[in-house]
Structures are given as C-alpha cells and as structure tokens.
C-alpha cells in the first residue's frame, strides 16, 4: 500500500455512487461531443473549402443570373486556370417526394476539372459528356434512392416548368465519390446545354454562377477583386468570393444558432460540474470524521486535499473516457450515418473532431478538479477536533 493506492481504495468506497457519477459524466461528455460535432460538421465546409476556388455570382442576389459571356471574360482574366459554370435546377424525384437534393445543370467539359475532389470513373465521365440526357449523381444519393448506372429517372424542378410532353428524364451515366470531407455526396449534375435549350429565349444563355480555379491560392483575394472590377461597368455587377469566404458568409446567417449551441455546450459542462461537485461534497461530508483521524495520525492538510481532489479527478477521467467510448458508435455510426444520407447538404461529414475528444477529456478532468476544489479546501482546513466530533 502507498498513498496513491490508499486514495484509489476510496474511489470505490461508495461503489454505486461512483458508478452513477461516472455515468453522469459520460452522458454529459456524449452530449457535449454531439453538440460540438454538429458545429464542426456545419462549419467544416468553410474550413475544408478549396482555397484556390473562386465563385462569381450576381452582386446583389444569388437568385439572379449572369450573362454567359462573362464565363469567357473570366477564363481570359489573368491568374485563372480553369473555369466552369452552373445553374440551379432544384429538383426532386416525384417517386421520393420527401427527399430533397441539389440538382445542378453544369458545363460537362469543365465541371469535374474544377471540382476535382468529386471522382467519376473515366469511362463513365466520357459517356456522360456525349450523352445529352445523362446525369452523374453522388454515391450517397444513389444508394439512398436505389439508383444504378444505366437507370432512367425523372425529376421535377421547382423553378423550371414541367412539360408532360417533354419530361425531365435523365439516364444515370455515372456515380461520383468524394475525395474530401466537405463534399456533398448527394448532388445530381446534368448537361447545362439541355437546360438552356428548354428555357424561353428571354432567359437563355444566362448562368447561375461561375466557378474558377486560380493559379496561386495565395493571391485568391486579389484575383477575386480583379474579377469584380472587370464587370464593374458592365450591365450586371458581380461578387466574387473564394470558397472559404463564400461558405463563411453563408454560415453568418446561422451564427445565432451556432452561438446558441456554444452556450448549450457550456451548460452541459456546468451540469457535469454540478453532478461531480455534489458527489464530492457528499463524500467529504460522510468522511469528515475519517479526515479528522488521518490528521490526528499526522497527515498534513495537503494530504487530505489531495485525497479529495484525486478521487474527483479519477472519477471525472473515467467518466470522460467512458463518454468518449460511447460517443463514437452513437454519433458516428448511428446519427452520423443518418445525417450524412438524409441531410448531406448541411452535414456532408458528420464525424467527431479528434481535437474535441481531447477537449472533452480535458474538460471532465479539469472540471472534476474545479468541482472538488472547494470541498477539498474545506476538508483540509477542518479543525481536527471538529472533524473528530462529527459523526457521519
């Protein structure tokens, strides 16, 4: 026996209470990790954005389009490597009325060059490029709706009129997979030319947005500004943002939600501290007499404080580890898979951030210490005679 093993004996003193406390901490850690994962999954698109990709859209509002001529102007601008463009189609499969996904009309030649983290088999890509009614879909979407290469599917757009004589029917030519975490694996892309031909002359040859890759990601901000200056005196002005800035401005709309989640994550840590503090305080109260005995034998106040603190920290640590062990299957297997399949636009990659695991463990240890600080201090300050008179 030594001082540490003596202290360890006490952790299991009130086995049932220790088990409950460990469970309480574990539940709090799971909840904390869940909340942080929501924030992480949400904001990750901004963090993992391709730094060399610039999106150019209508200056005032993204629902308005740009003349297609602008694409060529961007292509010949200095510092630009490749350019592609797209229009929003909206769309849902009337057979799966409740499933929403992004359907986008894209330039077949350049789209997968600009979005090179979306991978399609070469043979499929070539077939698609020559098949005007072809489409490429994300692997998660294909799996969920049971689509296979070669299948014919009919979509409805929320924006472009449906004509029963000429329905929006597509052949699935290929399925893309994602090479980066931030890619929505539920997107549906098809030929821009086909959409353009169906639009009344008035709205023809307009693109929703233009995406380009720059030669040097370090100068992406300057290049964006230069692009906008290019169109300053033209009929429509543009707003160019690199992907990170674009995503950040989108997130700004949800900043209140993110802030609320931050507050709630703090609240769960406070609840955890209360549970731990309560347990520690009870233990100290029940054992006051014993602390008196130890002090009478010659133990120092700091020994008593260390026993109280050590017990709390061990409990917090065990609870933290248990919480982390429970959180992985719960969040990644259960919820994560469901969210990635059903809400891939918002949560393309719903996984626990590794650094948050460290934060959670650190928090459970540190907060256990904090919860025990006052009881430990009090226990160590007790007058020996008072402690001895106290009967548990």
């Amino acid at each position: 026996m030594n001082l540490a093993s003596f202290a360890a004996r006490n952790v299991l003193r009130n086995r049932f209470r220790t088990v409950l406390t460990v469970l309480g901490v574990a539940v709090a850690v799971v909840a904390f990790l869940l909340l942080r994962t929501v924030v992480y999954a949400w904001t990750m698109a901004a963090d993992f954005a391709a730094k060399d990709r610039v999106v150019t859209r209508h200056k005032v509002t993204f629902i308005m389009t740009l003349p297609k001529r602008y694409v060529d102007d961007v292509r010949t601008a200095p510092g630009i490597k490749v350019v592609t463009f797209a229009n929003w189609f909206g769309g849902k499969d009337p057979k799966h009325d409740t499933e929403f996904f992004s359907a986008v009309a894209v330039d077949t030649k350049s789209f997968f060059q600009v979005y090179d983290e979306m991978r399609v088999a070469d043979a499929d890509l070539e077939r698609w490029q020559t098949d005007r009614s072809g489409a490429i879909v994300g692997d998660v979407l294909a799996k969920k709706l049971g689509w296979h290469v070669g299948d014919k599917v009919t979509l409805e757009s929320g924006i472009y009129p449906d004509d029963p004589q000429n329905p929006w029917t597509f052949t699935i030519d290929g399925i893309y997979t994602a090479m980066a975490k931030s890619v929505d694996r539920s997107t549906f892309v098809f030929h821009w030319d086909r959409l353009n031909d169906r639009i009344a002359t008035r709205g023809q040859n307009e693109v929703g947005w233009i995406v380009s890759r720059v030669d040097d990601p370090r100068h992406v901000a300057e290049t964006s500004l230069a692009l906008d200056r290019l169109f300053d005196d033209r009929e429509v002005q543009t707003l160019s943002q690199d992907e990170g800035a674009f995503n950040a401005s989108f997130l700004a709309g949800f900043s209140a939600v993110l802030r609320a989640i931050d507050v709630v994550s703090l609240v769960i840590l406070v609840i955890m501290t209360l549970i731990l503090g309560n347990t520690v305080a009870m233990g100290v109260r029940e054992r006051t007499n014993e602390y008196g005995v130890l002090r009478a034998i010659g133990f120092f106040p700091r020994h008593i404080a260390a026993f109280v603190l050590g017990e709390a920290v061990v409990t917090g640590c065990v609870g933290g580890v248990l919480g982390i062990v429970l959180a992985y299957p719960l969040i990644e297997r259960g919820m994560g898979r469901w969210l990635e399949e059903n809400m891939g636009v918002m949560f393309p990659y719903f996984r626990i951030e590794t650094s948050m695991v460290a934060v959670a463990l650190g928090a459970s240890v540190v907060l256990a210490g904090a919860a025990a600080a006052i009881p430990a201090w009090r226990a160590s300050r007790l007058r020996v005679t008072d402690a001895l008179r106290r009967v548990a």
């Binding site: 409805e156 929320g158 009129p161």
Partner: protein, 387 residues
Amino acid sequence: MIPVRYNVRSLAVRKTTTIATAAGIGLVVFVLASSLMLAAGVRKTLGLSGRRDVALVMRKGSDAELGSSIEDPQVGLLGSLSGVRRGPRGALVSGEVIVVAAMEKLGASGVSNVQLRGMTEQSHELRPQFKLVSGRLPRAGADEVLVGQRLRGRFRGLDLDGSFDLRKNRPVKVVGFFSDGGSSYESEVWVDLDVLRTSYRREGFVSSVRVQLESEGKFDGFQALVERDKRLGLQAMREATYFEKQSEGTSLFITVMGSVVSVFFALGAMIGAMITMYAAVASRQREIGTLRALGFSRSAVLGSFLLESVLLATAGGVMGAAASVAMGTVHFSMINYASWSEVVFRFEPTAAILGQSVGFAAVMGLVGGLLPAVRAARIAPAVAMRG
C-alpha cells in the same frame, strides 16, 4: 402518510446538495424551455404572417415565393375570377416581387441575405396589421423604402434616412419603419414594385400574387378556378398555409435539436437526482427504520421519498422555467430555409411551454427518485434498533 414537512426539512438541511441537484435540473429545464420557446417563436412569427382569407398564387411547383414567377397579364386575370373581393380601386389583388439582397451585417462580420419585396398600392390593404412606427410612407414610384422594425440596426444603411444600393448607382433611401403584428414581414424591406423591378430587370414579371377573398370559405372555389386552367400553370394556397409550411422546417429543426439535447441533459440531471436521493436514503436509514417501526407502511415510505425527489426536481424546474422567461427579450436571427434570407425571431414564453417544462422536471424527479425510494421502502423496521 408521512407529512410533507418532513421532506421539506430534510431538503433544507442538506442545502448544498439540494441546491446543486436542483440547479442541474433547472439548467436542463432552461435549455428545454428555451428551445421550445424559440420553436414557438418561429411558428408564431411565420404563422402571424399569413391570413386564411388571402390566397397566395405562385407558379406551379414552386415551394417558395422566391422561386416563383408570374407574367403581368395573369395578375389581371386572377383579379377577375369570382370570389375575389373588390375595393374602391378594383379587385384586391397584389402582384409582388421578391428578391434577396446580400447586405452587410452590423456588429458581426460578413454579409447576410435580406428579403426585399416590391409592393403595390393594394399591398397594405392585404395586410391589416401593418403600422408605420416611425418616419413616413414612401412616395409612389420614388426611390424610397420602408424597413421592417426587426431589421433596425442590424444591417448597414437600414436606419432612418440611411441608404443602400439596390444596384450599382441606384441608391434608395430609408424613409420609415413599420410593424406588422410580429409577423415575418417585419424582417423585410418594402420597395415600390416598379423601382424594384427595373433595378433587378424583372419588368413584366411578379413573383407571386396575393388575392383577398370575399371570405375564408371562398378559397376552395377560387383554388379550383386557378388550378383548372392548365395553361396558366399556377397554384393557389391559403397565405396562412404557405407560412405554416415555411415554418415547418425551421421549427422542426429547433424542436428536434432541442429535444435530443434535452434528453441527454435530462439523463445527466436524473443521475444527479438519483445520487442525491440515494445519499438521502442512506443517511436516514435509522430514521426510516423508526418510521417503519412506528407503523408507517412500505408504500408510505416509498411515497414520501418519491415526493421528496419530485419536490426537489420541481423546485429546480421552476427556477429553470423562470430563468427562461428572461429569454423573451432576446432576438434570434436565423436564415429561413425557404427564402434564404434572415428572419428575426423571438423566444415566445407561453404558459403551456412553461407548464410542460416544469412537468418535465417533475418527471425527471419521479424517475430519478424511483430506485432510491424503492430501496428506502425495503429498509426493515429492525434497522432502527441497530447501532
């Protein structure tokens, strides 16, 4: 029965533990009540926006006004249908244009979308709750705008006499602020229809048409008339239904998120209550044994400890619910999925929500206290005699 006073005293004696446990439960209730209040705020704000005797006509297949477009001649046609109320200036029909504009946020970095609505002379008559709160109404055809009061001070340029660019070199001036009974219109900027259309090159088109019906009951007939003509390619719904649908996603998201979080939190707090109640039982073994020896039944002991646990949790619940009422003063701005623009919501404290939340706390106390109470009930009278 064992008197309640006994429970209240024993909670008071163990002050620290009682406070810590109640505070934990209070925090859970605070989070739960706040999220329910926010969801209610979303439903209320969007729910207040719509009327049952106004039909909203959009292009068939459109989920939202933003994505819909209707040609001008069809607006007149809709006004001529039967069931439409007529005023001194003809049919009460308003074709409006919706666009969203990226505007610079104040007090936070970045831009956010604000919904701009092109208004006609009839627009105000279709919104009886409309009230000018400061400034004046814009002159027809002038480059002047009215701003919903919830946007006040949130974006650059949206102050009285401030201005912002509709497009390059086309500034508009803010001449007044309006309220609309707390509806989501209060998060919009209202512009003259033609000013907005020329700036955005939408001449000849509107996004949606609002039609004042003679009465609520006329809707079905009106809808049938609109949708029978396939060439029009239009759909009609009650304005109230439209906004209800818009609020569905957001309020569902908040409710689901709030509930999932609350379940986890409640588990934690329940464990806290259990720890406390087990300790209470353990330290009162002799007392319980004595009560049993005096003739109190097992169920009386069980009931007494359950009651104590429920009391403890309810006290926490009341504290949490009371604290959540303070959230009523907080504004919460969020993107509305349907319009991709920011809408400002309020936390809406209702008696039902507060009641539910306190009830939830009581249930936590009941569940958390069950096992400890069972243990207490099993203590034998003989324990009283042991040293």
